[in-house]
């Protein structure tokens, strides 16, 4: 009579499975990819490009970042800490300042006829600017517009911009458009 094979105890199975589980728990990086979302302008052939789209100077908010990662905002040295405030003031222009951008009347759903700014933020960098600085500056500019939208939607609808439905979001976006132009760096000498 063949000897009975003793039964293998299965009690440690749970421990082994737990060990595997913990290994996967630790190594899993649930990294959700996130970042600053932007849209690039259409490609235009530089030869057909003409400088006939003149924008009035008061309507452009010029931000330059040089090779030493210094900021030049509207022709003067600036610090990144107050860039957001300045960009907000520029886009909102609450007191209709002569030096800040013009506004034009526009029919917007939910709001009726409102004065919408014609301002454009122009961000220009040097070829040697550090990418980290560039993103920090761009983040501040995007944040400025996002804050303005949030303020407006809280004032009008009583909630944050991200909680509005898409029609309301479109209306708010009409009033504060995200007009950040990332111009190509100038390859002209002497600058």
């Amino acid at each position: 009579m063949a000897r009975k094979v003793p039964e293998i105890p299965a009690a440690s199975l749970a421990d082994i499975a737990f060990m595997l589980l913990i290994f996967f728990l630790v190594t899993t990086t649930m990294d959700v990819d996130s970042g600053l979302e932007r849209r690039l302008p259409q490609w235009v052939d530089p030869e057909t490009l003409q400088d006939d789209q003149q924008i009035k100077e008061r309507n452009v908010f010029v931000v330059l970042v040089n090779r030493n990662n210094d900021l030049l905002v509207e022709g003067e040295y600036a610090n990144i800490d107050n860039l957001r405030e300045r960009a907000k003031e520029f886009m909102a222009n609450p007191y209709n300042d002569e030096a800040l951008p013009e506004k034009e009347p526009k029919e917007v759903p939910y709001f009726g006829e409102v004065m919408v700014t014609k301002g454009v933020i122009s961000l220009r960098n040097d070829l040697d600017t550090q990418y980290g600085t560039y993103i920090a500056v761009q983040n501040e500019l995007v944040a400025a517009i996002n804050e303005l939208r949030d303020e407006l939607s809280r004032q009008e609808f009583g909630k944050d911009y991200k909680d509005l439905d898409s029609d309301q979001q479109n209306a708010v976006r009409d009033i504060y458009p995200s007009r950040i132009s990332e111009a190509e760096p100038k390859k002209v000498g002497g600058k």
Partner: protein, 153 residues
């Protein structure tokens, strides 16, 4: 007639742990399936910049990646330390980007093509020169929707 029994007469039966491995295995499979293995091996070092105004990349299948950064130590002998572009599993030049975008576009079905996003994973110490070149190439190939990958501040 013993309607009332003394306490402690009948002990609580021990809870069977026989199903514990099954439960644990279920969890294990969940994690194994939901873990996203990185689709490429990095050949460049990428320290992402920090930002606050982030938006998430929701559909992974619509995203194509461009990596830029210093080559890792084992590649530095052949490729040097200047920031390089990595597409898929190899180093590439700026001129290769257009082909890459077209190949990525071909790989998606027609309905999804307009929603495609290019995610730029760039090391924060990179100079803007190379990034601007990439942006120009992306504009030429009409991949206008981009995402500057960054971490939460």
């Amino acid at each position: 007639m013993s309607k009332f029994r003394k306490k402690g007469e009948k002990e609580l039966p021990p809870i069977s742990t026989a199903s514990l491995p099954d439960i644990v295995f279920m969890l294990l499979f969940f994690f194994m399936v939901s873990t996203t293995m990185r689709e490429v091996t990095y050949m460049v070092h990428i320290g992402l910049p920090k930002a606050t105004e982030l938006s998430k990349l929701e559909k992974k299948s619509l995203v194509s990646y461009i990596y830029v950064g210093e080559p890792l130590l084992q590649y530095q002998k052949t490729f040097g330390v200047a920031p390089r572009i990595q597409l898929n599993d190899q180093f590439a030049n700026v001129a290769d980007i257009q082909d890459y975008v077209i190949a990525e576009r071909e790989a998606r079905n027609e309905a999804e093509r307009p929603m495609m996003i290019t995610s730029l994973k760039v090391d924060e110490n990179t100079k803007m020169g190379i990034v601007s070149d990439i942006k120009q190439e992306l504009r030429k190939s009409a991949a206008l929707h981009i995402n500057y990958s960054s971490r939460k501040k």
